[in-house]
């Protein structure tokens, strides 16, 4: 049985300029202890998907129009606030992109770290502090006994991200959602943080949803990857299939446009045009206007749906589905 099962999630933002379909029919499953990568450009809806699960969508203007997110039998999108509170921060926790702004600058690290424990567990403050210390040690902060009483500004970016991870994992969650946790960090620190997440995952046995725009980060870390574009999943597969036999033109284009280790002088492959404006309903495939393989069929009324290629690999390009590509 899967740990988390999201079905047909739609999150729209109702603004003065129209309805932004940020997430438009997303379904996926995550098994316990596995890692799922969600890849996409800014505005593709990858963060909004996860914010919807955590109940972090500001409303108004945001509204979850439809969908289910079953976590251990509880629908996260339609449960009582009490149920949500007992799951969020305890069984599901989240790390954010920017460790500079996601810690409270007025609170000591110690107080922030024990907060989830004090709320969710019947524990004394002294015991909670002991757990917090162990956790700081586990995420590799030296001299934790001393530094636990520091304020966030006394830590560097990488260290703050470690504190964030310690805070997210202190309740030993079953699911960790990491929203671009390394984007603001240097490559060397990024490598440290990725290693740390993998290590903690082994220890706690949690499932991880890893949101990123960097295909390179995904390749070493994730069991499965799904690529999002314009609020929809365009391709989902196990990591090896996605990297070695990508099917959807967008996935292929993304891969070709990474400059990694290509010799100098060769021109990079570029995807012409801009990501779609999700406030306007688009007939057919949302990638069609930028796709080099698009034909009239792609912009007709038929919305592309994910179809199986094999057991683990699904994609939504109409022309691939009809065998033309």
């Amino acid at each position: 049985m899967s740990l988390l099962s999201v079905q047909d999630l739609r999150t729209y933002f109702h603004t003065r300029n129209g309805i932004y379909r940020a997430v438009d029919g997303v379904s996926f499953d995550l098994d316990a202890g596995k890692t799922l990568g969600i890849v996409g450009e800014s505005g593709s809806g990858k963060s909004v998907t996860c914010y919807s699960l955590m109940g972090l969508i500001p409303s108004p203007p945001g509204r979850i129009e439809s969908g289910k997110a079953l976590f251990d039998g509880v629908d996260l999108l339609n449960c009582t606030p009490q149920q949500a509170r007992s799951i969020r921060g305890k069984r599901i926790s989240m790390i954010f992109q920017d460790p500079m702004t996601s810690l409270n600058p007025y609170m000591r690290i110690s107080d922030q770290l024990i907060e989830p424990l004090m709320i969710h567990e019947d524990i004394t403050k002294a015991d909670a502090l002991k757990r917090a210390l162990e956790m700081l040690d586990a995420v590799g902060i030296n001299d934790a006994a001393n530094r636990i009483h520091y304020y966030p500004h006394e830590f560097s970016g990488g260290m703050r991200q470690r504190v964030m991870i310690a805070m997210a994992l202190i309740t030993k969650p079953e699911l960790l959602i990491a929203d671009e946790p390394t984007t603001a960090l240097d490559v060397t620190v990024q490598a440290q943080i990725l290693e740390l997440i993998q290590k903690m995952q082994k220890e706690i046995g949690m499932g991880v949803i890893f949101i990123t725009h960097d295909l390179g980060v995904v390749s070493g870390l994730c069991d499965r990857v799904q690529v999002m574009y314009g609020g929809r999943i365009v391709e989902t597969a196990d990591t090896r299939s996605l990297f070695y036999t990508p099917k959807h033109p967008y996935t292929r284009a993304l891969q070709k446009s990474i400059p990694s280790m290509q010799p100098k002088g060769t021109e990079l492959y570029t995807i012409e045009g801009l990501p779609p404006d999700v406030s306007k309903p688009l007939a057919g495939c949302s990638f069609a206007p930028r796709c080099e393989f698009a034909n009239d069929g792609c912009t007709s009324d038929r919305k592309p749906e994910l179809q199986d290629i094999n057991e683990t690999h699904r994609q939504s390009c109409l022309r691939v589905q009809s065998g033309e590509l």
Partner: protein
């Protein structure tokens, strides 16, 4: 032999730290750039890499004379920038331009594209009022923007288009050297590729010299002829991109290269990463000897004492005491 166009001689930029309100006392210095020697040749792309805080942006700002130089010289075609008067600097700035990281912050939100691009040309009087319209149009075409967007404001453009405007502004005076400070790190992958292609094409077409600052080594390798790796205000390795990133010698460069995630799951899983412990040390109190020795996996006792110089070794310059042994 290509001509050297920009030369940095033992360049140092130190920022004093003061304590006390009224009677300010200097209690230390942040040695952001600490003795950099560098030559940039005509129509070459020099990549400058390093972690945040290593001084790469300060180096760019020092070259532009946006911050005060503590010591050393910046020479552009024989003219010494550090000793130039404001009038001379105005003249020199025509040949030396900069592109900033964040195209959302570096463009004036109240100026149209036309106003933004016309301003440098009017200030430097490179053309008459009559020609200005057609010059701005040409400029926009060079960077791949349609001239009909001339009267639009920055907020009407996407990130990639804004970065094109910023590039056009830097090119307005037909400079000889352009410094680009992380020009693609705020952009999405697909847009990043467009901007990189544009920069490479402009370098070729206009004979520009480009100093390309980035923390993403794969981007730097792609665009650069030569690469300089900075650590704590000093250059630790300098050579051709193939040499430095393909076959790094300095332990710091090795660690940087090994930390780049590649889009190849099989390689990625078997790969042994060189993990650097901790963060870069503070440039206020740099470590004794080799600045990298506290984090270096192959440091010996000597490394804490002797300061390594940048020396030629294996078709590059590198500053490591143990370069021959490793």
């Amino acid at each position: 032999m290509p001509e050297t166009i920009l030369e940095l001689q033992d360049l140092k930029t130190h920022f004093p730290i003061y304590r006390g309100g009224l009677l300010k006392r200097e209690i230390g210095k942040v040695k952001a750039v600490d003795g950099v020697n560098l030559k940039v040749e005509q129509s070459e792309v020099l990549g400058l890499v390093g972690e945040s805080g290593c001084g790469k942006s300060t180096l760019a700002r020092t070259v532009m004379q946006l911050v005060h130089t503590t010591e050393g010289n910046v020479e552009l075609e024989g003219r010494n920038l550090t000793k130039s008067s404001p009038e001379q600097m105005l003249e020199i700035r025509r040949d030396l331009q900069m592109i900033f990281q964040d195209p959302y912050a570096s463009l004036n939100p109240r100026s149209t594209v036309f106003a933004t691009l016309a301003e440098p040309m009017l200030v430097h009087k490179v053309c008459t009022q009559k020609e200005i319209h057609s010059r701005v149009g040409e400029l926009m075409e060079t960077v791949g923007l349609a001239p009909r967007f001339m009267q639009k404001y920055p907020h009407e453009f996407s990130g990639g288009q804004r970065q094109r405007i910023a590039i056009a502004r830097a090119l307005a005076l037909r400079p000889k050297v352009v410094l680009a400070d992380e020009p693609v790190s705020a952009l999405d992958v697909s847009i990043q590729a467009q901007i990189l292609n544009l920069l490479a094409e402009l370098v070729k077409k206009m004979g520009l010299s480009l100093i390309f600052i980035a923390h993403d080594l794969s981007v730097v390798k792609h665009i650069s002829d030569r690469v300089a790796v900075m650590y704590l205000g000093k250059i630790v390795e300098l050579g051709t991109a193939e040499q430095v990133i393909g076959k790094p010698v300095h332990p710091y460069t090795k660690a940087l290269v090994s930390a780049i995630p590649t889009a190849n799951p099989d390689d990625e899983r078997d790969r042994k990463r060189i993990m650097l412990p901790g963060d870069p040390p503070s440039p206020i109190n740099p470590p004794s000897g080799c600045p990298f020795h506290p984090r270096c996996p192959s440091a010996t006792d000597d490394c804490a004492i002797a300061v390594p110089a940048l020396e030629s070794f294996a078709e590059r310059e590198v500053s490591c005491l143990r370069k021959a042994e490793l």
